[in-house]
């Protein structure tokens, strides 16, 4: 499946590029209102048309890519930063109290539907992009802890780990020097998947008003604003949705392709 890897990489890079370029240049100011130009269909002047305030949709999508990617990326960082050490710790103390505590803690977080976590956090701190990151990030922790623990457990049984133990290395050093590099593939693949899920989650949270607040541009909020406009000008709702689908689709393909490339044994994944 070389094709899926390349297509995934191309779509992902396109989204990253859109976000990156938007820092320097967008076709119009994404916040510039122009009521005279409202709800224009796509044209040479406005490639993807304008919304109900006459804002250029292409410019808003580029700026929105920034929000989506930043939120999802930091959330993956939180998940990895806390989850991987916890998973490694649990694996190193396999069968012990620490392992049990980490795994039951994971189950507990899993029992809260991610959206409910987000709602609770918003109830406490109020809606913002930062709290969306927190909500998505917390849910990423048990995912990475599980993947890290599962991967680490199978590495711990191998002979070269025995050799490292005989050489006098402690569990922490073995985890960092021998286990971590060997489960890096797994973590990268899972990272891509959580990245794509994070983009979907951010869009959903922003759509119901729990994510990025105006004036921060956001794909999810563009869709929320488009909802009442959908009969008059379907393009206002169609393009932000397409942006989400293509980015997430690209990341999923990339994740699949990377897994095949990095670890042929895992090829039969759902």
């Amino acid at each position: 499946m070389r094709l899926s890897l390349h297509l995934g990489l191309a779509l992902t890079l396109a989204a990253l590029l859109a976000a990156g370029v938007s820092l320097l240049w967008t076709p119009y100011d994404p916040a510039a209102l122009s009521i005279a130009e409202k709800l224009r269909p796509p044209s040479a002047a406005h490639w993807l048309g304008t919304d109900h305030f006459g804002r250029d949709i292409a410019a808003m999508l580029m700026a929105g890519a920034r929000t989506s990617i930043a939120v999802a990326l930091v959330a993956v960082g939180i998940g990895m930063g806390f989850g991987v050490p916890l998973g490694l710790l649990a694996a190193a103390r396999h069968g012990g109290t620490v392992d049990e505590v980490v795994m039951r803690g994971n189950d507990l977080i899993f029992a809260f539907p991610s959206l409910v976590i987000a709602i609770l956090i918003t109830a406490v701190f109020g809606p913002s992009a930062l709290n969306a990151i927190l909500a998505i990030g917390i849910f990423n922790i048990p995912v990475f802890a599980r993947v890290a623990r599962g991967g680490a457990l199978s590495i711990w049984t191998l002979d070269f780990i025995r050799a490292a133990e005989v050489a006098g290395k402690g569990a922490a050093r073995i985890s960092a020097e021998h286990i971590l590099p060997n489960i890096a593939n797994l973590l990268i693949v899972q990272g891509t998947i959580q990245f794509s899920l994070g983009i979907l989650a951010e869009a959903g949270l922003s759509y119901v008003g729990l994510g990025a607040q105006p004036p921060t541009p956001s794909w999810g909020r563009m869709l929320a604003e488009a909802q009442t406009m959908v009969t008059l000008a379907p393009h206002v709702a169609i393009f932000p949705g397409l942006a989400i689908v293509l980015t997430v689709f690209g990341l999923n393909l990339l994740g699949d392709g990377l897994r095949d490339r990095l670890d042929p044994r895992l090829r039969a994944r759902p």
Binding site: R104, D107, L108, F110, A111, F112, P113, L115, V116, I119, L120, T122, A123, V124, S196, L200, A203, G204, Y207, V208, L223, A226, Q227, V230, T231, P234, A237, I238, P240, G241, I244, V245, L246, V248, F249, N252, L253, D256, A268, R269, P270
Partner: protein
């Protein structure tokens, strides 16, 4: 089996207790006093204090926690601060929308996923497999609320087959109720079906190299017969896990879809409750959702044991 059941029930009870503690502590730190919110800006400190007394807000936190879970254990979720009616009644009313919606979506999802997953596994590596895998990859990438908007655009506004939103209630007949839930259920179901079909496909493919499959083929069964009689049953464990997770997701995930279709479900209730600082409702609805997740996980665990006798003995 009895020991297995007992251990599972013990862990069910412990999870519920832990979850309730987490929810209570989170709600404790929510800024804003429900009593002053209910009485408005002009209320005197004495009236606010009297109301706090009446709502039981002046008691110490541990006492309030205990009375909260003790009440819930008896089916008493307290009184809503804003609606002044029992929370259990409010929730039951909303569940009339959310529960059928989740079940409807789960049914649709299984209806699409099983044939698709079986087809892809049976035609592995061929055109049908590639088509199913491509379609499901796209389905997974679909934000369900956007998909819902497209469905409304096509089936409600353009062709006018289904209502665009709102819920007439079950009193007007089951037909009208189901019609109102059809588009939301499709929007919820398709992305879930994509995941389920992929899990089923890979679980079926995983069985391929097993001895009992070879035996079944050797005694003369066709590939399709082997797959349905032998492989499917063995593939059910991962499929059930995902189905269980999806049911809880559908119950809670409907929160966003309910917004698209203006459905009076649990999601809308929790949103209103947050804006009105009706914390007891927030607390209880979150607890009920978490309870549903934990209960479904428990039931799936039991189902494993029914499907796979080996798990029963091991425990």
């Amino acid at each position: 089996m009895a020991r297995y059941l007992f251990r599972r029930m013990l862990s069910l009870a412990l999870s519920l207790l832990a979850a309730s503690l987490v929810i209570f502590l989170v709600i404790e730190v929510v800024p804003g006093d429900p009593a002053s919110y209910m009485l408005g800006l002009n209320a005197s400190p004495e009236t606010v204090d009297a109301l706090r007394d009446q709502l039981g807000l002046n008691a110490a936190a541990p006492a309030r926690y205990l009375s909260w879970i003790w009440g819930m254990a008896q089916g008493d979720f307290g009184l809503s601060y804003t609606y002044k009616v029992p929370v259990s009644g409010l929730v039951a009313q909303r569940l009339e929308v959310s529960l059928p919606l989740a079940l409807y979506a789960l049914g649709l999802s299984a209806l699409v996923a099983f044939p698709a997953g079986l087809l892809a596994a049976a035609r592995r590596g061929r055109l049908a497999d590639t088509a199913v895998m491509g379609a499901t990859q796209l389905g997974i990438s679909l934000p369900n609320f956007w998909f819902a908007m497209l469905l409304v655009l096509v089936f409600a506004l353009h062709w006018r087959i289904f209502p665009a939103g709102g819920f007439p209630g079950w009193d007007g007949g089951i037909g009208a109720g189901l019609a109102a839930l059809t588009l939301p259920a499709i929007a919820l179901a398709l992305p879930q079906a994509a995941i389920l079909a992929r899990v089923l496909r890979s679980a079926l493919i995983e069985t391929e190299g097993q001895d009992y499959i070879r035996t079944a083929r050797a005694k003369g069964l066709t590939r399709t017969q082997t797959m349905i009689r032998h492989a499917l049953r063995n593939a059910m464990i991962p499929v059930l896990t995902i189905l269980g997770m999806q049911f809880s997701f559908l119950l809670a995930g409907a929160i966003i879809i309910e917004n698209v279709f203006y459905l009076p479900g649990l999601g809308r209730l929790i949103f209103q409750a947050i804006t009105q600082r009706d914390l007891i409702v927030v607390e209880s609805v979150v607890m009920i959702l978490v309870f549903a997740v934990i209960l479904v996980t428990f039931l799936v665990d039991l189902a494993y044991a029914l499907i796979d006798p080996r798990l029963r003995r091991r425990a």
